[in-house]
């Protein structure tokens, strides 16, 4: 099956710093999503981004499908950005799609 690798596995930032999270995937994908899992375990959709660049406030994401990677940028980080960031890819199989997650990047933003 497809492999989804995220880096770095852990990241510690001072409030106000910028960061880049990376997601590599081993095969062509039909869709890619970034999620934030808060300390209470809730997974929140950040971006649906099969290709190109999207921005939402201090967060932006870029997917280069031909080179099989995606990047999540966090600017001017805040303590509320802490949590685990997951990249997940959709693969079509016999008429339905399956979502496969990476292992995540754990982010801690300190005041």
């Amino acid at each position: 099956g497809i492999q989804v690798e995220q880096s770095p596995p852990d990241l510690i930032l001072q409030e106000g710093a910028n960061s880049t999270l990376r997601c590599n995937f081993s095969d062509s994908v039909n869709n890619l999503q970034w999620f934030h899992q808060n300390p209470w375990g809730q997974l929140i959709n950040l971006f649906y981004i099969p290709s190109g660049t999207k921005q939402n406030g201090r967060l932006s994401a870029t997917t280069v499908a031909t080179e099989r990677y995606s990047l999540l940028y966090i600017s001017s980080s805040q303590t509320t950005d802490s949590g685990v960031y997951f990249c997940a890819v959709f693969i079509m199989n016999s008429g339905y799609s399956t979502l496969t997650f990476g292992k995540g990047t754990m982010l801690l933003v300190s005041p």
């Binding site: 989804v4 869709n31 999503q33 997951f86 959709f90 339905y96």
Partner: protein, 117 residues
């Protein structure tokens, strides 16, 4: 719009006991997923339903796990008998169904936290 509802939120059981988790997806969503998330890892798909039919259960340990989705709406995931390694968060998710195209988004519930002692 109401989100994906799961219950119970927390459960502690002894090994070899049984447990059941319930999920009510977002109204109108045809696809329902059960994921298992072990501490420190990403969610792993256990089973995926399209309406009330199973489309993928390749990673479901069928000797102890079972799931059903009656009438294509809510779903139940059961573990019997539980093992220590089943301690995890069980996440239910749902998405709209798009004919032969991936959904543009998927919505997760808050999860059911299971501890097996």
């Amino acid at each position: 719009e109401a989100g994906v509802a799961q219950s119970p939120r927390y459960k502690i059981i002894e090994k070899r006991q049984s447990v059941a988790f319930w999920c009510n997806p977002i109204s109108g969503h045809a696809t329902l997923y059960w994921y298992q998330q072990i501490l420190g890892q990403g969610p792993k798909l256990l089973i995926q339903f399209q309406n009330n039919g199973v489309v993928d259960d390749s990673q479901l340990p069928k000797d102890r796990f079972s799931a059903e989705r009656l009438k294509g709406v809510d779903s139940t995931l059961k573990i019997q008998p539980a093992k220590l390694e089943d301690s995890a968060v069980y996440l239910c998710a749902s998405s709209p169904s798009w004919d032969r195209r991936p959904p543009t988004t998927i919505y997760f519930g808050e999860g059911s936290w299971l501890t097996v002692v």
